[in-house]
């Protein structure tokens, strides 16, 4: 079965600082990969998805970017964090027609 690794579990960053969140996947190959963000008490919002190395689709224009340098590695980045970037970030892996598997997320607080 798939395992999704995300780190760090929690992160506190000042406004204007850069960000790099990493997600790695075990137990599958050539998965579709996804980044979601969840605000407190809300559902998940899809930010980016990738169907292969170097292929990134953005769902919501924003201060963030994503990259997929390897088949099972997905990175979420920002050059300058905003207060509105606070939230719970989740990485997911899946294939078409199959349920997605989620990591345990990174809780990001911007001060």
């Amino acid at each position: 079965s798939q395992t999704i690794h995300q780190w760090p579990a929690t992160l506190v960053q000042p406004v204007g600082s850069p960000l790099s969140l990493e997600c790695t996947v075990e137990g599958t190959s050539n998965p579709n990969l996804y980044w979601y963000r969840q605000a407190a008490g809300r559902g998940l919002q899809l930010l980016f998805y990738s169907v292969g190395i170097g292929q990134i689709s953005s769902e919501v224009p924003q201060n963030l970017s994503a990259s997929r340098p390897q088949d099972r590695q997905f990175i979420l980045s920002s050059k300058k964090l905003l207060l509105s970037d606070s939230g719970f970030y989740l990485c997911a892996s899946g294939r078409s027609n199959q349920p997605q598997h989620f990591g345990d997320g990174t809780r990001l607080s911007i001060l």
């Binding site: 027609n97 349920p99 997320g105």
Partner: protein
């Protein structure tokens, strides 16, 4: 992508059966119905998926009427550990499996 509507919250007691209904009036022929469970500070976890009639696994049952415009997640004999947010999603069988999460149903199980 079909929009889903489900109750914001529900309360139950240990040992009772809980039924959470989701409406998806605009479901397409190729769409599947999928339910996820999410505990605080964790990623969503896949519970069950179905296309029509009834699906049962070790965790839950999913009932889907013939018109497929709604579905009901049934949790038998809930325990305190079933307190969580439950999300109903409609997923296309083709494409990139982009999940659209609503606010979900917050289930509270009481002693």
């Amino acid at each position: 992508l079909a929009k889903t509507t489900q109750p914001i919250s529900m309360d139950s007691y240990e040992g009772q059966e809980v039924n959470i209904t989701c409406s998806h009036n605009n479901i397409a022929t190729n769409d599947y119905i999928t339910w996820y469970q999410q505990f605080p500070s964790q990623g969503p976890r896949f519970i069950i998926q179905g296309y029509k009639t009834k699906v049962t696994n070790e965790v839950a049952s999913l009932f889907i009427p013939a018109d497929r415009k709604s579905s009901t997640l049934s949790l038998p004999r809930v325990s305190l550990s079933d307190t969580a947010v439950y999300y109903c999603l409609v997923i296309s069988s083709g494409g990139y499996n982009k999940l659209i999460f609503g606010a979900g149903t917050r289930l509270a199980v009481h002693p």
